[in-house]
Symmetry: C2
Subunit: 348 residues, 2 copies
DNA sequence: CGCCCTCCTGGGAGCGCTCTCGTAAACTGG
DNA sequence: CCAGTTTACGAGAGCGCTCCCAGGAGGGCG
């Protein structure tokens, strides 16, 4: 860690001189050391350590055209998403998997349309090997922006597209929202419930509509009085529940599209003297621990492997990067739907 | 945006050829255009647009030794911090200010000692111009790791140091925890309260100890029965409050070192039939909106400009970067303490 | 009208690395 | 023991950019 004059970092050249070999050999050793005599490898290693040599990433990138970095784009008109445990967990999964691939996470935070311009430039400028993005609302321009940058990209959650039709095929990783919802509703049916209501999420988010679709897969043609819409928040869930109780006082079960909404619903149900699960069985979605386990009774809900989804996003992206899917004629890898799992607790 | 052969990005050379000038001139135009005849500037601009030229950051970095990127290091044994609105806000402030400085945010997430090794290598490897870090616990090795990397760095929150003594001077940005606490307690005194208890945060976090110090600044030699320690969580605050009520049933005010703890305390107070603020006045710290405004009564608390602190961290760092404080003899800029403000709501 | 000074512009070196290619050395087998 | 392989290593080009320096054009002044 010493030996280098203060201020200047040692270069390959310096290491080569010290080890009495050529630059090329040092480079080979530093990058895996295959095809170099063990004795030489050792000599180079020693020199590297003595000088405290660390490769200059910029020089490397210049010739390899690989950056060892991936952009994670947070489009976030609502600041909320960042404090959402769901999102944090996904980022953590991404971060962990990137470490495995020796890549860094460059966080791009978009707060408005102007930022999209900036981000587009950044992506095009060749700073990163690829991009990971989260699509929130259907009318969000982000997917388009990223696609235009012609850089490998993977989405978290199935992106919706502004305008109908022309849905470009972009790889994404999503939980099996629809299947999970089906399982949740089937569970309620198996419990003997007949009047199963649904508190849906915002209609412009695919996760919400997919869950709604799963509900309808099982219940086919549900009574409109059994439907209410929330906004994925606790308060929204409470309001929706209140509406439902008016529209359909005879309901005996509720499937809420998120745990947060379920907890709001639970609050209202108890407020109106309905026992859970005796009078009304309740199922949430997400298995957001801090919520689902904290309620009384704890929430039966649909678990998704959030961190695993983060891992998958990175693996998918890395495959695209190494296969260079920006080449004309290259086909992008398919998307991945991760399984969900019904977690039975006390509420249903 | 067209005109370049698919796959290859146009280089400076290509733009120069197109505009009929030299590489050097194009470079000058791209970097501000001073010292170039307006007519030429225009010609180059046109060529840049026609070719869709974007500078190659790696090549640039190689010669300028500037990366246009800053590492943000999250040391986080407890995952919690990421979901903490406090932290999210600070990151947002950082992100915004970095945009102003045309720099990117590289997120480094450390989950354990092994990661420190990785991070140390990364920082030393010359990938970023500087580092922003958050010190959480006093026994955290992160400050040491960063300091050893000899890279400009600014801390969020006054870092504590493992072991006593030898406190290296490292610039940080922190709220005036002590002053804010003083103000909070003085407010309670002004209200005529005489038995003012304190729920402190963890003793190994400077933000907690500083607030405690502020409390003692005003109350000088407080009755030990008026002191309890929490862990900055709601549950911890509740537990501490319960203890306080046993130790000192005659207390007439509580200053909690965080809003979350205050809300826990509030719950216990009401549970035991104490009216807030009539019987017991309560003041929190942080002005974490989602908590302080949601309680009943809303919390009187000490506000800190969290996002502003993020901005300041970046500005401080950028100054260090441009002045190259790693040069021997350079003095690091001083730290900044941002003011706090008492926000009066219903609880005191 | 010539000289000097200023202002622009281009040539060229060089940042630190990878990678191709050529050659020397080591090995194989008949 | 030598021709033919295989393997190990070094020389050198070049990635795309910035920046120093030299030189040319033009303007001001004696």
């Amino acid at each position: 860690m010493s030996g280098s004059p203060a201020g200047t970092r040692p270069t390959l050249e310096a290491v080569a001189a010290r080890a009495g070999v050529s630059r090329a050999t040092v480079s080979r050793v530093v990058n895996g050391g295959s095809g170099v005599r063990p004795a030489l490898v050792e000599r180079v290693r020693v020199a590297v350590n003595e000088l405290g040599y660390v490769p200059n990433q910029a020089a490397r990138t210049l010739v390899t055209r690989r950056h060892g970095a991936v952009a994670v784009i947070i489009a976030e008109p609502e600041f909320r998403i960042f404090t959402d445990p769901f999102f944090a967990q996904q980022i953590r999964g991404i971060s962990r998997e990137l470490t495995v691939h020796d890549s860094q996470l460059v966080l791009l935070w978009a707060e408005g349309r102007d930022d999209y311009e900036r981000i587009s430039r950044y992506l095009t400028g060749g700073h990163v090997d690829g991009a990971l993005a989260f699509s929130v609302h259907n009318d969000d321009a982000l997917p388009t922006v990223i696609l235009r940058a012609r850089i490998p990209a993977v989405f978290g959650g199935r992106p919706g597209w502004p305008g109908a039709g022309r849905q470009p095929s972009v790889p994404y990783v999503d939980a099996d929202n629809r299947g999970g919802a089906r399982e949740a509703v089937r569970h309620l049916v198996a419990l003997g419930r007949r009047r199963i209501a649904h508190i849906a999420g915002p209609a412009d988010q695919t996760s919400a509509t997919d869950r709604f679709d799963g509900y309808r897969d099982v219940l086919l043609d549900p009574d409109p009085a059994l439907l209410a819409q929330g906004d994925f928040t606790e308060a929204g869930g409470a309001a929706a529940m209140a509406r439902l109780l008016e529209q359909a006082p005879d309901l005996d079960a509720v499937f809420a599209a998120s745990d947060l909404m379920a907890s709001g619903a639970l609050r209202v149900l108890r407020g109106q003297g309905r026992r859970v699960p005796e009078d009304v069985a309740l199922v949430g979605f997400d298995d957001m621990r801090s919520v689902a386990e904290a309620t009384d009774p704890p929430l039966t809900t649909v678990r998704q492997d959030i961190e695993g989804m983060g891992h998958l996003m990175v693996r998918l992206l890395m495959r695209m990067v190494t296969e260079d899917t920006t080449e004309p004629g290259a086909r992008t890898p398919g998307s991945v739907i991760t399984p969900t799992e019904l977690v039975r607790r006390g509420s249903a």
